[in-house]
């Protein structure tokens, strides 16, 4: 993921997940690199 996409693109995709799964309950550790999604998952 982090090879193909830059930070802006990854955050955009994470916002899409947040729109459908605002509390990040569904497979929270998948798709996004954990280091990237850590802050978003914690805030959710």
């Amino acid at each position: 993921m982090s090879t193909q996409f830059n930070e802006t693109e990854l955050y955009q995709q994470m916002r899409v997940k947040s729109a459908f799964d605002p509390n990040w309950l569904l497979n929270p550790a998948k798709v996004f690199p954990l280091s990237f999604s850590a802050a978003t998952r914690k805030a959710a």
Binding site: Q4, Q13, V16, S18
Partner: protein
């Protein structure tokens, strides 16, 4: 008339959006404006247009791929592809005849934003299916890429498909990459005259269920006493085409005897169907575009009764074009419940005077309203 901003490049588009975001100014997104009659009118202080972002940026016929900046005229891309013997398989729908045109050429960006697909969608898929990559300036003024230039691209969320058909509400498409396909050697059509709607849809469905690969299946009901025409298009190599037309004619015998249209008349007729021309006689009429299961299409139209001023079927009945006489709600009070009963989906494509007050798009279901609110 709102201010018009025409940035010369993608960075300019992004910074125009960024500026609008800081000042909380709503902006209208436009390509050439040939499809601006679609959807509700946009209330915006400023218009940002992609018309200066032009040019085919990648053309690799051997790889079946083409990229172009958003403001590139669709015709320019098709001409470049045509020289390589290729085309956009989904047969881009041209909204100009529907909205009267404004003298400009429809652009690639507008095509992506409206997922404008034509009669060949039944076999080749929609614009969305051929779109494999975009660059998008988001509402935050950031530029993101999604997809690429190959079909197999499975990493991350497929925002390409989301952007296609989003009418510029999710971002400004600045560049698009499409899968292309070879142009068949020739084409021809079979025409059966005098079928009623239900029988015609059955004939078209039989053609679609055959092994002969129709690339267009439409029914044009009788207008002004002329005969109703049920049309099936085949595209292939000359020798193959002749065989397939003959076999298909035999298969459709129970529905009536079929006349053959050669390449040129076939092309002319499908050109009209592609632009919804059979409905465009009276420009004051409102135009609906309804998706419904082909097996329910004829009964659906019959259930509308005298509301229907003119109509025709494409996609073997899966797409119904309906023109109604102008009124306060463009017939929505009758049409919406009928669409619901037929489990279909309707868009009011043309109704200049009432499109601000009528639900132009299919009303959203509660779950999708919920996610929009977030």
């Amino acid at each position: 008339m709102s201010d018009l901003v025409a940035p010369a490049d993608e960075a300019g588009i992004a910074s125009a959006i960024h500026e609008a975001m800081s000042s909380k100014t709503p902006i209208a997104i436009r390509g050439a404006g040939t499809r601006s009659g679609l959807g509700r009118p946009v209330q915006a202080a400023r218009t940002v247009t992609t018309e200066k972002l032009t040019g085919v940026t990648l053309l690799e016929p051997a790889e079946l791929v083409v990229s172009a900046l958003a403001g590139t005229p669709v015709a320019e891309v098709e001409a470049a592809l045509g020289q390589a013997g290729q085309r956009l398989a989904f047969e881009p729908f041209d909204h100009r005849p529907l909205y009267g045109g404004n003298g400009a050429e429809p652009t690639i960006g507008g095509l992506v934003a409206t997922n404008a697909s034509g009669p060949r969608r039944v076999i080749a898929g929609a614009a969305r299916d051929a779109l494999i990559g975009v660059r998008l300036a988001t509402g935050r003024g950031e530029v993101i890429r999604s997809g690429g230039r190959v079909m197999k691209n499975v990493t991350g969320y497929d925002l390409v498909k989301l952007a296609c058909g989003s009418h510029g509400t999710l971002g400004v498409v600045t560049e698009a990459t499409f899968k292309t396909s070879p142009i068949p050697e020739t084409e021809g059509s079979l025409v059966i005259e005098g079928l009623d709607d239900a029988r015609a849809v059955a004939a078209l469905s039989a053609a679609m269920g055959s092994p002969f690969e129709p690339s267009g299946t439409a029914h044009l009901p009788s207008v002004d006493g002329g005969p109703a025409r049920t049309v099936v298009r085949l595209e292939n190599f000359e020798s193959q085409l002749r065989y397939r037309l003959g076999e298909l004619e035999k298969l459709l015998k129970p529905y009536g005897s079929a006349a053959h249209l050669d390449r040129e008349p076939s092309r002319a007729l499908w050109g009209e169907i592609r632009a919804a021309a059979p409905l465009l006689g009276d420009p004051s009429r409102a135009v609906w575009r309804v998706s419904v299961a082909p097996s329910r299409a004829a009964a659906f139209v019959a259930s509308l009764g005298p509301l229907v001023a003119a109509h025709f079927y494409d996609w073997s009945g899966g797409l119904v074009w309906i023109a109604v006489e102008p009124s306060d709600d463009a017939g929505a009070a009758i049409l919406r419940p009928a669409v619901k009963a037929a489990r279909g989906h309707a868009t009011l494509l043309r109704a200049e005077d009432v499109r601000a007050s009528v639900d132009v798009f299919e009303p959203e279901l509660p779950p999708s309203r919920g996610s929009r609110a977030r």
